[in-house]
């Protein structure tokens, strides 16, 4: 595990900056940030392009991609485009822009990729069920004191902490405790 990362912003300062961005979102748009919804739209559009017949039969997909206008012309998609640009810019500025795979010291790259995919799949299912992710529910819903968002937040930490021991091989150095 790392102790202090050189070059990373102080977490409280980063959080403060993020909070200001979130506040600006509230006053400019009347709502907070989002991420998973944008990914969901894109997934839905891909599905609809590949198999439009299946979309017709799915109430969920119809809601997702058959609304008025182009389903990709929604704020979530523009926002995640911005997220990637912002991450890219920060990566350049901080010299962290290079192809690599982050993984714990005890596993190989292949294992890490499989775990990333599996974790992503589980997370993808979970965020659709919860109607949001850390950005939209925990951060945005949390700041406006939505009860469901706070319940979500605690569940996320609960699920992660409970599983952490069992998947420690993915992340920790030796010393199984």
């Amino acid at each position: 595990m790392t102790r202090k990362q050189k070059g990373y912003m102080n977490p409280y300062v980063a959080g403060g900056f993020l909070g200001v961005v979130l506040f600006l979102s509230f006053v400019l748009f009347g709502h907070g940030l989002g991420a998973s919804g944008g990914v969901a739209k894109i997934v839905g559009v891909v599905q609809d392009t590949v198999a439009p017949g299946r979309t017709d039969g799915s109430a969920y997909l119809v809601d997702l991609v058959r609304g008025a206008g182009n389903p990709l012309d929604t704020w979530l998609v523009y926002e995640i485009l911005g997220v990637m640009i912002g991450g890219f810019l920060s990566g350049i500025l901080s010299g962290r822009l290079r192809p690599e795979t982050f993984k714990g010291p005890r596993i190989g790259v292949g294992t890490r990729w499989a775990a990333a995919f599996a974790g992503g799949a589980i997370a993808g299912f979970g965020v659709r069920l919860a109607r949001g992710c850390t950005s939209s529910q925990a951060l945005s819903g949390g700041a406006v004191l939505s009860a469901g968002s706070w319940a979500f937040m605690f569940s996320v930490f609960g699920g992660a902490y409970l599983l952490a021991y069992f998947v420690r091989r993915l992340w920790t150095e030796g010393d199984a405790r």
Binding site: F29, G34, A35, G37, R131, G132, C133, S140, G141
Partner: protein, 213 residues
């Protein structure tokens, strides 16, 4: 550590400050947004003609709630059938506002328009949707559907009552409330009047933008 302490103190102070200041009341929000609310009222887009209200009443597909904001004495003399009288304080009770049924057209009525418009402002800042004011108020309604004046009423007279002083102009020999014939005019025999349709149809649930759901 010192900077963290300062930040922590600022956060706590900010929170305590909020606690002491309290949230803006409905009245304060109405004052803060007065110009915008006033200009919306001046477009007359939320004032509906009594004939339109009668049509909405008789349209079984539209859920309707007529909120009467007059004094109890006026209400007891005459009110439109199925309208509800709401004391002024209730308009600012968040629990009452939250409990209002959804997908329902709400029409505010007073004798003329002034009180209904003030009620409209208070409900508008609390985001009550599908909110309208009866143009010409009860006075205008009775001009059109009441017995004494004949049915020869021009649609202009409703607007003429807008500037009225919100007192009930019509006289009643007894307090009939909603048992008065004009409380529930017979659409087949009521005077047909042209009006500009203003009530917007209530679509399926319009989800506000926001969140990943």
């Amino acid at each position: 550590m010192n900077r963290k302490r300062v930040a922590a103190l600022v956060a706590v102070a900010a929170a305590v400050g909020l606690l002491l200041m309290g949230r803006p009341t409905v009245e304060e929000r109405v004052s803060a947004r007065a110009p915008e609310l006033q200009s919306r009222l001046e477009t007359r887009r939320v004032h509906i003609h009594p004939a339109e209200l009668l049509d909405v009443i008789n349209n079984y597909n539209t859920r309707l709630r007529i909120v009467d904001v007059r004094d109890e004495s006026d209400f007891n003399l005459f009110h439109i059938l199925d309208s509800v009288r709401v004391p002024w304080a209730r308009l600012q009770d968040p629990a009452w506002v939250r409990a209002l049924p959804t997908h329902t057209v709400t029409v505010l009525v007073s004798n003329d328009e002034r009180r209904a418009e003030e009620a409209w402002k208070r409900l508008a800042v609390q985001n009550v949707p599908h909110l309208y004011v009866l143009e010409g108020g009860i006075n205008g309604w009775l001009d059109l559907y009441g017995e004494a004046p004949t049915g020869a009423v021009s649609s202009g007279s409703a607007a003429g009552h807008a500037a009225g002083d919100d007192t009930l102009r019509h006289g009643f020999s007894a307090a009939l409330g909603s048992r008065h014939p004009a409380s529930d005019p017979d659409p087949l025999h009521a005077p047909r009047v042209e009006y500009e349709r203003k009530v917007k149809p209530i679509g399926p649930t319009v989800r506000k933008a926001g969140g990943c759901g």
